[in-house]
Subunit: 257 residues, 2 copies
Protein backbone atom coordinates (compact mmCIF):
# COMPACT_ATOMS: atom_id res chain seq x y z
CA UNK A 1 0.00 0.00 0.00
CA UNK A 2 1.23 3.47 -0.92
CA UNK A 3 0.03 6.36 1.27
CA UNK A 4 0.28 10.04 0.44
CA UNK A 5 -0.35 12.65 3.12
CA UNK A 6 -0.64 16.35 2.29
CA UNK A 7 1.12 18.57 4.84
CA UNK A 8 -0.37 22.04 4.86
CA UNK A 9 2.21 24.68 5.75
CA UNK A 10 1.58 26.60 8.98
CA UNK A 11 2.04 29.90 7.13
CA UNK A 12 2.73 31.33 3.70
CA UNK A 13 6.45 30.76 3.24
CA UNK A 14 8.45 33.98 2.80
CA UNK A 15 11.59 34.75 0.81
CA UNK A 16 14.74 33.78 2.66
CA UNK A 17 13.17 31.38 5.16
CA UNK A 18 15.17 28.23 5.96
CA UNK A 19 13.51 25.42 4.00
CA UNK A 20 14.84 22.61 6.21
CA UNK A 21 13.50 24.31 9.33
CA UNK A 22 10.11 25.03 7.73
CA UNK A 23 9.90 21.39 6.65
CA UNK A 24 10.75 20.01 10.10
CA UNK A 25 8.24 22.36 11.73
CA UNK A 26 5.63 21.13 9.26
CA UNK A 27 6.38 17.46 10.04
CA UNK A 28 5.98 18.17 13.73
CA UNK A 29 2.87 20.30 13.31
CA UNK A 30 1.14 17.36 11.58
CA UNK A 31 2.64 14.73 13.90
CA UNK A 32 4.13 13.11 10.81
CA UNK A 33 7.71 12.38 11.82
CA UNK A 34 9.55 10.96 8.77
CA UNK A 35 9.87 7.20 8.84
CA UNK A 36 12.08 4.76 6.95
CA UNK A 37 11.22 4.34 3.26
CA UNK A 38 9.23 7.56 2.99
CA UNK A 39 9.64 10.28 0.38
CA UNK A 40 8.86 13.97 0.85
CA UNK A 41 7.67 15.81 -2.26
CA UNK A 42 8.25 19.57 -2.16
CA UNK A 43 6.65 22.10 -4.54
CA UNK A 44 9.31 24.03 -6.44
CA UNK A 45 7.67 27.39 -5.66
CA UNK A 46 8.57 27.13 -1.97
CA UNK A 47 12.14 26.16 -2.87
CA UNK A 48 12.39 29.20 -5.13
CA UNK A 49 10.86 31.42 -2.46
CA UNK A 50 13.33 30.34 0.21
CA UNK A 51 16.11 30.94 -2.36
CA UNK A 52 14.81 34.52 -2.88
CA UNK A 53 14.06 33.64 -6.52
CA UNK A 54 11.04 35.97 -6.68
CA UNK A 55 11.28 38.70 -9.25
CA UNK A 56 9.19 41.74 -10.22
CA UNK A 57 8.52 41.96 -13.92
CA UNK A 58 8.91 45.75 -13.73
CA UNK A 59 12.57 45.21 -12.68
CA UNK A 60 13.37 43.61 -16.04
CA UNK A 61 14.54 46.53 -18.15
CA UNK A 62 17.25 45.13 -20.40
CA UNK A 63 14.98 43.73 -23.11
CA UNK A 64 16.76 42.30 -26.14
CA UNK A 65 15.44 42.32 -29.74
CA UNK A 66 15.15 38.53 -29.54
CA UNK A 67 12.79 38.88 -26.54
CA UNK A 68 10.76 41.52 -28.38
CA UNK A 69 10.32 39.08 -31.26
CA UNK A 70 9.10 36.21 -29.02
CA UNK A 71 6.90 38.69 -27.21
CA UNK A 72 5.18 39.84 -30.37
CA UNK A 73 4.89 36.37 -31.90
CA UNK A 74 3.19 34.82 -28.86
CA UNK A 75 1.52 37.84 -27.26
CA UNK A 76 3.39 37.90 -23.96
CA UNK A 77 4.85 40.98 -22.25
CA UNK A 78 8.33 41.86 -23.54
CA UNK A 79 9.78 41.75 -20.01
CA UNK A 80 8.29 38.29 -19.50
CA UNK A 81 9.75 37.05 -22.80
CA UNK A 82 13.14 38.42 -21.70
CA UNK A 83 12.89 36.55 -18.40
CA UNK A 84 11.92 33.29 -20.14
CA UNK A 85 14.81 33.75 -22.57
CA UNK A 86 17.26 34.21 -19.68
CA UNK A 87 15.90 31.29 -17.68
CA UNK A 88 15.52 28.66 -20.43
CA UNK A 89 17.99 26.52 -22.34
CA UNK A 90 15.90 27.10 -25.46
CA UNK A 91 12.52 28.59 -26.46
CA UNK A 92 10.97 26.20 -28.98
CA UNK A 93 7.58 27.77 -29.68
CA UNK A 94 4.40 28.83 -27.95
CA UNK A 95 0.72 29.62 -28.12
CA UNK A 96 -0.80 33.06 -27.56
CA UNK A 97 0.07 33.99 -23.95
CA UNK A 98 2.60 31.25 -23.29
CA UNK A 99 6.11 30.27 -24.40
CA UNK A 100 7.29 26.67 -24.63
CA UNK A 101 10.82 25.92 -23.50
CA UNK A 102 13.44 23.37 -22.63
CA UNK A 103 14.81 23.95 -19.12
CA UNK A 104 17.45 21.58 -17.70
CA UNK A 105 16.46 19.13 -20.45
CA UNK A 106 12.77 19.19 -19.44
CA UNK A 107 9.97 20.42 -21.73
CA UNK A 108 8.07 22.96 -19.68
CA UNK A 109 5.95 26.09 -20.23
CA UNK A 110 7.67 29.47 -19.64
CA UNK A 111 10.93 27.88 -18.34
CA UNK A 112 8.98 26.99 -15.19
CA UNK A 113 8.46 30.66 -14.31
CA UNK A 114 5.27 30.92 -12.33
CA UNK A 115 3.03 33.78 -11.36
CA UNK A 116 0.66 31.67 -9.28
CA UNK A 117 1.59 31.57 -5.60
CA UNK A 118 4.63 33.75 -6.27
CA UNK A 119 3.62 36.76 -4.20
CA UNK A 120 2.36 40.24 -4.97
CA UNK A 121 1.08 41.78 -8.19
CA UNK A 122 3.58 41.45 -11.05
CA UNK A 123 5.80 39.08 -9.08
CA UNK A 124 7.00 35.78 -10.52
CA UNK A 125 8.88 32.86 -9.03
CA UNK A 126 11.78 31.49 -11.06
CA UNK A 127 12.78 27.82 -11.25
CA UNK A 128 14.92 27.01 -8.17
CA UNK A 129 18.70 26.98 -8.46
CA UNK A 130 20.14 23.42 -8.48
CA UNK A 131 17.05 21.43 -7.46
CA UNK A 132 19.03 18.16 -7.38
CA UNK A 133 21.51 19.77 -4.97
CA UNK A 134 18.66 21.10 -2.80
CA UNK A 135 17.07 17.63 -2.70
CA UNK A 136 20.40 16.02 -1.80
CA UNK A 137 21.09 18.54 0.97
CA UNK A 138 17.61 18.19 2.49
CA UNK A 139 17.76 14.40 2.24
CA UNK A 140 21.04 14.26 4.18
CA UNK A 141 19.76 16.64 6.87
CA UNK A 142 16.47 14.75 7.30
CA UNK A 143 18.24 11.38 7.51
CA UNK A 144 20.59 12.77 10.14
CA UNK A 145 17.97 14.56 12.25
CA UNK A 146 15.47 11.67 12.25
CA UNK A 147 18.12 8.91 12.18
CA UNK A 148 16.93 7.26 8.99
CA UNK A 149 18.79 5.00 6.57
CA UNK A 150 16.36 5.16 3.69
CA UNK A 151 14.54 8.37 2.80
CA UNK A 152 13.85 10.26 -0.40
CA UNK A 153 13.26 13.86 -1.50
CA UNK A 154 11.61 15.11 -4.68
CA UNK A 155 11.44 18.75 -5.79
CA UNK A 156 8.40 18.87 -8.08
CA UNK A 157 6.91 21.06 -10.75
CA UNK A 158 3.90 20.86 -13.08
CA UNK A 159 4.10 20.47 -16.83
CA UNK A 160 1.90 20.19 -19.87
CA UNK A 161 1.34 16.93 -21.77
CA UNK A 162 1.21 16.54 -25.54
CA UNK A 163 -2.32 16.38 -27.01
CA UNK A 164 -3.77 15.99 -23.55
CA UNK A 165 -5.76 18.34 -21.35
CA UNK A 166 -4.39 19.15 -17.92
CA UNK A 167 -1.01 19.32 -16.27
CA UNK A 168 0.76 16.49 -14.48
CA UNK A 169 3.73 16.42 -12.11
CA UNK A 170 7.40 16.22 -12.99
CA UNK A 171 10.30 15.55 -10.63
CA UNK A 172 12.88 18.31 -11.21
CA UNK A 173 15.16 17.28 -8.35
CA UNK A 174 15.57 13.87 -6.70
CA UNK A 175 17.66 12.43 -3.86
CA UNK A 176 17.70 9.23 -1.85
CA UNK A 177 16.19 6.76 -4.32
CA UNK A 178 16.53 5.61 -7.93
CA UNK A 179 14.11 7.75 -9.96
CA UNK A 180 13.92 5.34 -12.89
CA UNK A 181 13.29 1.59 -12.71
CA UNK A 182 14.96 -0.26 -15.55
CA UNK A 183 12.89 -3.37 -16.31
CA UNK A 184 14.98 -4.50 -19.27
CA UNK A 185 16.13 -8.09 -18.83
CA UNK A 186 13.35 -8.93 -16.38
CA UNK A 187 10.48 -11.21 -17.43
CA UNK A 188 6.72 -10.80 -17.77
CA UNK A 189 4.07 -13.23 -16.49
CA UNK A 190 4.75 -15.61 -19.36
CA UNK A 191 8.54 -15.55 -19.06
CA UNK A 192 9.15 -13.18 -22.00
CA UNK A 193 12.09 -10.85 -21.49
CA UNK A 194 11.32 -7.09 -21.35
CA UNK A 195 13.31 -5.39 -24.09
CA UNK A 196 12.36 -1.73 -23.76
CA UNK A 197 10.59 -0.87 -20.56
CA UNK A 198 11.86 1.61 -18.01
CA UNK A 199 9.50 3.25 -15.49
CA UNK A 200 9.59 6.91 -14.46
CA UNK A 201 8.99 6.24 -10.75
CA UNK A 202 9.91 9.73 -9.51
CA UNK A 203 7.45 11.33 -11.93
CA UNK A 204 4.75 8.87 -10.87
CA UNK A 205 5.32 9.65 -7.18
CA UNK A 206 5.21 13.36 -8.01
CA UNK A 207 1.81 12.79 -9.57
CA UNK A 208 0.25 11.32 -6.43
CA UNK A 209 1.70 14.24 -4.46
CA UNK A 210 0.23 16.77 -6.87
CA UNK A 211 -3.23 15.29 -6.36
CA UNK A 212 -2.96 16.67 -2.82
CA UNK A 213 -0.90 19.81 -3.46
CA UNK A 214 -3.33 21.27 -5.95
CA UNK A 215 -2.46 24.38 -7.94
CA UNK A 216 -4.54 27.14 -6.31
CA UNK A 217 -4.78 28.25 -2.67
CA UNK A 218 -4.38 24.84 -1.01
CA UNK A 219 -1.21 25.97 0.82
CA UNK A 220 0.04 22.37 0.77
CA UNK A 221 3.59 22.50 -0.60
CA UNK A 222 4.69 19.26 1.09
CA UNK A 223 3.37 15.72 0.58
CA UNK A 224 4.77 12.74 2.47
CA UNK A 225 4.60 9.50 0.45
CA UNK A 226 4.98 6.29 2.43
CA UNK A 227 5.98 2.84 1.17
CA UNK A 228 6.38 3.65 -2.52
CA UNK A 229 8.07 0.61 -4.09
CA UNK A 230 11.41 2.18 -5.01
CA UNK A 231 15.09 1.32 -4.44
CA UNK A 232 16.55 3.69 -1.91
CA UNK A 233 20.20 4.63 -2.31
CA UNK A 234 22.70 6.94 -0.67
CA UNK A 235 24.36 7.63 -4.02
CA UNK A 236 23.87 11.06 -5.54
CA UNK A 237 21.31 11.07 -8.36
CA UNK A 238 22.46 12.50 -11.68
CA UNK A 239 19.82 14.56 -13.55
CA UNK A 240 20.82 12.68 -16.72
CA UNK A 241 19.35 9.44 -15.33
CA UNK A 242 15.90 10.91 -15.93
CA UNK A 243 16.48 12.40 -19.38
CA UNK A 244 16.00 10.44 -22.58
CA UNK A 245 18.84 10.60 -25.06
CA UNK A 246 17.66 12.15 -28.30
CA UNK A 247 18.51 9.08 -30.42
CA UNK A 248 16.28 6.83 -28.31
CA UNK A 249 13.41 9.30 -27.87
CA UNK A 250 10.29 8.53 -29.91
CA UNK A 251 9.27 12.19 -29.76
CA UNK A 252 12.55 13.62 -31.01
CA UNK A 253 11.85 12.26 -34.48
CA UNK A 254 8.61 14.20 -34.75
CA UNK A 255 9.73 17.52 -33.23
CA UNK A 256 10.49 20.43 -35.50
CA UNK A 257 13.26 21.81 -33.29
Amino acid sequence: MVEAIGLKASHIIKPGENLFEVLCETFELHLQIPQERSIIVIAETVVSTTQNRIIKLSDITNITPNAVQWSSEFEVEPAFAQLVLQESDEIIGGIPGMLFTVKSGILIANAGIDQSNAGGEGEYSLWPVDPFGVAEDLCKKIKEKYQLNEFGVIISDSRVQPLRRGIVGVAIGVAGFKPVDDCRGRCDLFGHEMKWTTRALADQITDVAHLLMGECDEQTPFVLVKDAPVSFTSQKISPDTMLMSRDQDLFSRIFKF
Copy 2:
Protein backbone atom coordinates in the same frame (compact mmCIF):
# COMPACT_ATOMS: atom_id res chain seq x y z
CA MET B 1 -4.64 11.13 2.68
CA VAL B 2 -4.71 9.15 -0.56
CA GLU B 3 -4.20 5.39 -0.27
CA ALA B 4 -3.42 3.00 -3.13
CA ILE B 5 -3.68 -0.76 -2.61
CA GLY B 6 -2.43 -3.23 -5.22
CA LEU B 7 -4.78 -6.19 -5.68
CA LYS B 8 -2.92 -9.18 -7.03
CA ALA B 9 -5.14 -11.36 -9.20
CA SER B 10 -5.77 -14.89 -7.93
CA HIS B 11 -4.78 -16.32 -11.32
CA ILE B 12 -3.53 -15.29 -14.74
CA ILE B 13 -6.65 -13.96 -16.45
CA LYS B 14 -7.65 -15.89 -19.58
CA PRO B 15 -9.32 -14.79 -22.80
CA GLY B 16 -13.08 -14.61 -22.47
CA GLU B 17 -13.29 -14.45 -18.67
CA ASN B 18 -15.91 -12.11 -17.21
CA LEU B 19 -14.04 -9.01 -16.05
CA PHE B 20 -16.67 -7.88 -13.55
CA GLU B 21 -16.68 -11.31 -11.88
CA VAL B 22 -12.88 -11.49 -11.79
CA LEU B 23 -12.79 -8.02 -10.25
CA CYS B 24 -15.38 -8.84 -7.55
CA GLU B 25 -13.55 -12.08 -6.70
CA THR B 26 -10.34 -10.07 -6.38
CA PHE B 27 -11.95 -7.52 -4.04
CA GLU B 28 -13.22 -10.34 -1.85
CA LEU B 29 -9.95 -12.29 -1.95
CA HIS B 30 -8.13 -9.24 -0.53
CA LEU B 31 -10.96 -8.29 1.86
CA GLN B 32 -11.08 -4.93 0.08
CA ILE B 33 -14.79 -4.35 -0.48
CA PRO B 34 -15.20 -1.13 -2.49
CA GLN B 35 -16.15 1.85 -0.37
CA GLU B 36 -17.59 5.25 -1.18
CA ARG B 37 -15.20 7.63 -2.96
CA SER B 38 -12.80 4.95 -4.13
CA ILE B 39 -11.50 4.41 -7.65
CA ILE B 40 -10.43 1.10 -9.17
CA VAL B 41 -7.64 1.30 -11.75
CA ILE B 42 -7.56 -1.63 -14.19
CA ALA B 43 -4.65 -2.48 -16.51
CA GLU B 44 -5.74 -2.43 -20.14
CA THR B 45 -4.13 -5.81 -20.86
CA VAL B 46 -6.67 -7.66 -18.70
CA VAL B 47 -9.52 -5.76 -20.36
CA SER B 48 -8.17 -6.77 -23.77
CA THR B 49 -7.72 -10.36 -22.64
CA THR B 50 -11.29 -10.67 -21.38
CA GLN B 51 -12.40 -9.16 -24.71
CA ASN B 52 -10.44 -11.87 -26.60
CA ARG B 53 -8.24 -9.15 -28.09
CA ILE B 54 -5.15 -11.39 -28.18
CA ILE B 55 -3.71 -11.99 -31.60
CA LYS B 56 -0.94 -14.15 -33.08
CA LEU B 57 1.41 -12.24 -35.34
CA SER B 58 1.59 -15.27 -37.64
CA ASP B 59 -2.14 -14.88 -38.33
CA ILE B 60 -1.55 -11.47 -39.96
CA THR B 61 -1.10 -12.31 -43.62
CA ASN B 62 -2.66 -9.42 -45.53
CA ILE B 63 0.36 -7.11 -45.42
CA THR B 64 -0.04 -3.88 -47.39
CA PRO B 65 2.79 -1.97 -49.15
CA ASN B 66 2.32 0.83 -46.61
CA ALA B 67 3.04 -1.61 -43.75
CA VAL B 68 6.10 -2.94 -45.60
CA GLN B 69 7.42 0.61 -45.84
CA TRP B 70 6.95 1.35 -42.10
CA SER B 71 8.45 -2.06 -41.35
CA SER B 72 11.59 -1.36 -43.32
CA GLU B 73 11.99 2.23 -42.13
CA PHE B 74 11.80 1.37 -38.42
CA GLU B 75 13.00 -2.24 -38.39
CA VAL B 76 9.85 -3.94 -37.13
CA GLU B 77 8.30 -7.14 -38.51
CA PRO B 78 6.02 -6.49 -41.51
CA ALA B 79 3.11 -8.25 -39.80
CA PHE B 80 3.58 -6.08 -36.72
CA ALA B 81 3.65 -2.89 -38.81
CA GLN B 82 0.42 -4.07 -40.47
CA LEU B 83 -1.21 -4.59 -37.09
CA VAL B 84 -0.11 -1.16 -35.85
CA LEU B 85 -1.41 0.39 -39.06
CA GLN B 86 -4.79 -1.27 -38.57
CA GLU B 87 -5.04 -0.38 -34.90
CA SER B 88 -3.87 3.26 -34.98
CA ASP B 89 -5.48 6.50 -36.10
CA GLU B 90 -2.12 7.54 -37.53
CA ILE B 91 1.52 6.39 -37.49
CA ILE B 92 3.64 9.50 -37.01
CA GLY B 93 7.18 8.13 -36.82
CA GLY B 94 9.32 5.74 -34.83
CA ILE B 95 12.74 4.60 -33.70
CA PRO B 96 14.36 1.30 -34.66
CA GLY B 97 12.10 -1.42 -33.26
CA MET B 98 9.13 0.77 -32.36
CA LEU B 99 6.43 2.78 -34.15
CA PHE B 100 4.91 5.94 -32.72
CA THR B 101 1.19 6.45 -33.17
CA VAL B 102 -1.92 8.39 -32.31
CA LYS B 103 -4.64 6.07 -31.00
CA SER B 104 -7.99 7.54 -29.87
CA GLY B 105 -6.27 10.93 -29.75
CA ILE B 106 -3.51 9.66 -27.41
CA LEU B 107 0.20 9.59 -28.34
CA ILE B 108 1.32 6.05 -27.63
CA ALA B 109 3.94 3.57 -28.85
CA ASN B 110 2.73 0.85 -31.27
CA ALA B 111 -0.97 1.87 -30.98
CA GLY B 112 -0.90 0.37 -27.48
CA ILE B 113 -0.24 -3.12 -28.84
CA ASP B 114 1.65 -5.04 -26.22
CA GLN B 115 3.64 -8.24 -26.23
CA SER B 116 4.36 -8.20 -22.50
CA ASN B 117 1.83 -10.15 -20.47
CA ALA B 118 -0.14 -10.95 -23.62
CA GLY B 119 0.27 -14.72 -23.54
CA GLY B 120 2.31 -17.21 -25.57
CA GLU B 121 5.18 -16.73 -28.00
CA GLY B 122 4.29 -14.38 -30.85
CA GLU B 123 1.05 -13.29 -29.17
CA TYR B 124 0.12 -9.65 -28.72
CA SER B 125 -2.71 -7.92 -26.89
CA LEU B 126 -4.51 -5.16 -28.75
CA TRP B 127 -5.90 -1.98 -27.16
CA PRO B 128 -9.33 -2.81 -25.67
CA VAL B 129 -12.49 -1.98 -27.59
CA ASP B 130 -14.33 1.08 -26.16
CA PRO B 131 -12.43 1.52 -22.86
CA PHE B 132 -14.75 4.37 -21.78
CA GLY B 133 -17.76 2.10 -22.31
CA VAL B 134 -16.08 -0.71 -20.36
CA ALA B 135 -15.30 1.69 -17.49
CA GLU B 136 -18.90 2.98 -17.49
CA ASP B 137 -20.36 -0.53 -17.48
CA LEU B 138 -18.09 -1.74 -14.66
CA CYS B 139 -18.74 1.42 -12.65
CA LYS B 140 -22.51 0.93 -12.81
CA LYS B 141 -22.26 -2.75 -11.86
CA ILE B 142 -19.92 -2.08 -8.93
CA LYS B 143 -22.10 0.75 -7.60
CA GLU B 144 -25.14 -1.52 -7.80
CA LYS B 145 -23.55 -4.60 -6.25
CA TYR B 146 -21.86 -2.75 -3.38
CA GLN B 147 -24.59 -0.10 -3.02
CA LEU B 148 -22.35 2.89 -3.57
CA ASN B 149 -23.21 6.41 -4.70
CA GLU B 150 -19.72 7.60 -5.57
CA PHE B 151 -17.19 5.29 -7.19
CA GLY B 152 -14.79 5.59 -10.10
CA VAL B 153 -13.19 3.31 -12.69
CA ILE B 154 -10.05 3.93 -14.76
CA ILE B 155 -8.79 1.70 -17.57
CA SER B 156 -5.06 2.45 -17.73
CA ASP B 157 -2.15 2.05 -20.09
CA SER B 158 1.51 3.10 -20.10
CA ARG B 159 3.02 5.67 -22.42
CA VAL B 160 6.30 7.32 -23.24
CA GLN B 161 7.11 10.92 -22.29
CA PRO B 162 8.92 13.45 -24.47
CA LEU B 163 12.67 13.85 -23.72
CA ARG B 164 12.25 11.88 -20.52
CA ARG B 165 13.33 8.39 -19.56
CA GLY B 166 10.67 5.94 -18.42
CA ILE B 167 7.01 5.39 -19.01
CA VAL B 168 4.16 6.86 -16.97
CA GLY B 169 0.47 5.99 -16.75
CA VAL B 170 -2.35 7.29 -18.92
CA ALA B 171 -6.08 6.90 -18.31
CA ILE B 172 -7.58 5.49 -21.54
CA GLY B 173 -11.07 4.99 -20.10
CA VAL B 174 -12.76 6.78 -17.19
CA ALA B 175 -16.14 6.57 -15.44
CA GLY B 176 -17.67 7.92 -12.23
CA PHE B 177 -15.61 11.08 -11.70
CA LYS B 178 -14.40 14.18 -13.54
CA PRO B 179 -11.01 13.28 -15.02
CA VAL B 180 -9.87 16.88 -15.43
CA ASP B 181 -10.03 19.63 -12.80
CA ASP B 182 -10.48 23.06 -14.34
CA CYS B 183 -8.84 25.61 -12.03
CA ARG B 184 -9.47 28.61 -14.29
CA GLY B 185 -11.28 31.36 -12.38
CA ARG B 186 -10.13 30.11 -8.98
CA CYS B 187 -7.53 32.07 -6.99
CA ASP B 188 -4.04 31.31 -5.71
CA LEU B 189 -2.74 32.01 -2.19
CA PHE B 190 -2.37 35.70 -2.99
CA GLY B 191 -5.80 36.11 -4.59
CA HIS B 192 -4.58 36.08 -8.21
CA GLU B 193 -6.97 34.44 -10.61
CA MET B 194 -5.75 31.28 -12.41
CA LYS B 195 -5.92 31.87 -16.15
CA TRP B 196 -4.63 28.64 -17.66
CA THR B 197 -4.44 25.78 -15.24
CA THR B 198 -6.32 22.52 -15.63
CA ARG B 199 -5.16 19.35 -13.85
CA ALA B 200 -5.12 15.85 -15.38
CA LEU B 201 -6.42 14.09 -12.27
CA ALA B 202 -7.22 10.76 -13.94
CA ASP B 203 -3.69 10.51 -15.35
CA GLN B 204 -2.24 11.36 -11.93
CA ILE B 205 -4.34 8.67 -10.23
CA THR B 206 -3.24 6.22 -12.92
CA ASP B 207 0.37 7.03 -12.04
CA VAL B 208 0.02 6.08 -8.39
CA ALA B 209 -1.68 2.85 -9.49
CA HIS B 210 1.14 2.03 -11.89
CA LEU B 211 3.68 2.32 -9.08
CA LEU B 212 2.03 -0.82 -7.68
CA MET B 213 1.04 -2.58 -10.92
CA GLY B 214 4.57 -2.65 -12.30
CA GLU B 215 5.24 -3.77 -15.85
CA CYS B 216 6.75 -7.26 -15.46
CA ASP B 217 5.47 -10.34 -13.62
CA GLU B 218 3.77 -8.56 -10.70
CA GLN B 219 0.34 -10.01 -11.64
CA THR B 220 -1.31 -6.93 -10.11
CA PRO B 221 -3.75 -5.65 -12.75
CA PHE B 222 -6.02 -3.90 -10.22
CA VAL B 223 -5.23 -1.03 -7.84
CA LEU B 224 -7.82 0.43 -5.47
CA VAL B 225 -7.27 4.14 -4.81
CA LYS B 226 -9.05 5.56 -1.77
CA ASP B 227 -9.89 9.20 -1.02
CA ALA B 228 -8.40 10.81 -4.11
CA PRO B 229 -9.66 14.42 -4.12
CA VAL B 230 -11.88 14.29 -7.21
CA SER B 231 -15.47 15.24 -8.02
CA PHE B 232 -17.54 12.10 -8.45
CA THR B 233 -20.36 12.21 -10.97
CA SER B 234 -22.91 9.83 -12.44
CA GLN B 235 -22.70 11.56 -15.82
CA LYS B 236 -21.00 9.68 -18.63
CA ILE B 237 -17.44 10.92 -19.29
CA SER B 238 -16.66 11.96 -22.85
CA PRO B 239 -13.17 11.00 -24.07
CA ASP B 240 -12.86 14.52 -25.52
CA THR B 241 -12.77 16.01 -21.99
CA MET B 242 -9.25 14.63 -21.66
CA LEU B 243 -7.91 15.60 -25.08
CA MET B 244 -6.31 18.97 -25.79
CA SER B 245 -7.61 20.79 -28.84
CA ARG B 246 -4.80 21.29 -31.33
CA ASP B 247 -5.07 25.10 -31.29
CA GLN B 248 -4.49 25.23 -27.52
CA ASP B 249 -1.79 22.56 -27.39
CA LEU B 250 1.75 23.85 -26.82
CA PHE B 251 3.18 20.71 -28.40
CA SER B 252 1.14 20.86 -31.61
CA ARG B 253 3.15 23.88 -32.74
CA ILE B 254 6.40 21.96 -32.58
CA PHE B 255 5.27 18.65 -34.06
CA LYS B 256 6.14 17.83 -37.66
CA PHE B 257 2.93 15.88 -38.30
